[in-house]
Amino acid sequence: MYQVDRAYSYIFYVSLVLYLVSIFWGLFVTPEDFVQGNSYRIIYLHVPASFISQSLYIAMAIASAIFLIWKVKLSAYLVRSIAPIGAITTFIALISGSIWGIPTWGTWWVWDARIVSTLILFIMYLGLISLHDSFSNHEKADKFLSILVLVGSVNIPIIKMSVEWWSTLHQPASITISDKPAIDLVMLYPLFGSIVGFAGIVACLVILSSKLQILRRERNKSWIKNYV
């Protein structure tokens, strides 16, 4: 835990600087988009959030698999502590997406596959939290939570593929690992930077949240008393 505390501050400052520089660069330095005008600059805030919100769910699914197979208690704490952070990033993605929708589509909400599936993701995060909190027996709650996370992970590929499967208003993903990026390099660098920076900031949040979980759940252990 001491090492984590030290690493935490490094990660925090590095990613904060990276994020702020990328946002600044994206907002003021990159040229205006030909089709969407200046409103496309929201991409530097929207894409990191929506990318991270799905990645967090995948991280949660991996952690719950580890918990169910090897009975590692810490990964159960991790699952529980990622859930609220995931809810917040999904919320940011939804809000920024719908504000972006006003100038580009003329409406702040469409019943579009990707938007709806992001909303589903948001509801699922909230459901996971409420399920865990409804059990007073934490060991049972951990088990049920990780089962639900694993079963719910079938939704992630659906969110990923929704834009390709259903021809809808939402534009296809701007960056993919395999293909050539669909946007210009000048715009890509700050986008990439903002994704990495945002991921770092969110990682800090996850660390804080897990710390809170550990403190709450292990409060009777002697090592916690030493740590505090």
Partner: protein, 215 residues
């Protein structure tokens, strides 16, 4: 064989358990045209929207009591230590609930479809889709119910509801393609594929969850 007898006896004596959801379904289907203008030509469009939502809600209601009673009186305990495999017992349980609630609802649903759209072709085509969908719904909601077994069924089914929403998109697409006389067998195959995975996985997961509850 005993488990089938067990479930049937149980449901025969608790008509609320299976008759209630069917009545609610009929009520929704009868009541919704009253809220829109009868002369409205779009009625057959909104009909399908209401149909799927009604099936979803009724299946949510139907699974309300599927495990709770047996958990409270200790029958699940006895099943769990008996020689017959536990996932098998659970899948039989779900199957009987589907037989008593899902199948009647599918029949009634396609009858309503005939009444609303005046198209026999549509009604016949919607029937297998209704059968498969109700079976998928009942499986997933049973899973949700098992999750929050001791905390009331509402929480668990609400938590599993998001899992079913992608399925609703598929259903909507299937109805559109039936309406346009396109080939909708692809959607049926997709639904069947989902069902065949669910039918094996869900009882296994539920048996794991219930064992955790029984500890």
């Amino acid at each position: 064989m005993n488990i089938i007898k067990f479930e049937l006896l149980k449901l025969r004596n608790k008509s609320r358990g299976w008759l209630g959801p069917i009545l609610v379904f009929i009520l929704i289907m009868v009541a919704f045209p009253l809220t829109v203008e009868i002369s409205n030509k779009d009625l057959d469009q909104s009909f399908f929207a209401v149909l799927w939502i009604a099936v979803l809600l009724v299946m949510m209601l139907a699974t309300e009591d599927i495990f709770l009673e047996d958990f409270n009186d200790g029958s699940l305990e006895q099943f769990a230590i008996s020689d017959i495999s536990f996932p098998y017992i659970i899948s039989v349980k779900i199957f009987i609930y589907w037989l008593l609630i899902g199948v009647p609802i599918s029949i009634i649903g396609s009858l309503f479809c005939l009444g609303f759209t005046n198209s026999g072709n549509l009604a016949i085509n919607i029937f297998p889709i209704l059968l498969i969908t109700s079976y998928i719904f009942i499986n997933v909601f049973s899973f949700g119910n098992a999750l929050s077994l001791t905390k009331g069924s509402v929480l668990g089914t609400l938590v599993t509801l998001p899992l079913l929403l992608p399925l609703l998109i598929v259903l909507g697409k299937a109805v559109i393609s039936i309406n346009l006389n396109l080939n909708y067998l692809g959607f049926v195959a997709l639904l069947l594929g989902v069902l065949s995975i669910i039918i094996f996985l869900i009882p296994l997961i539920i048996s794991y969850i219930i064992r955790a509850h029984l500890e």
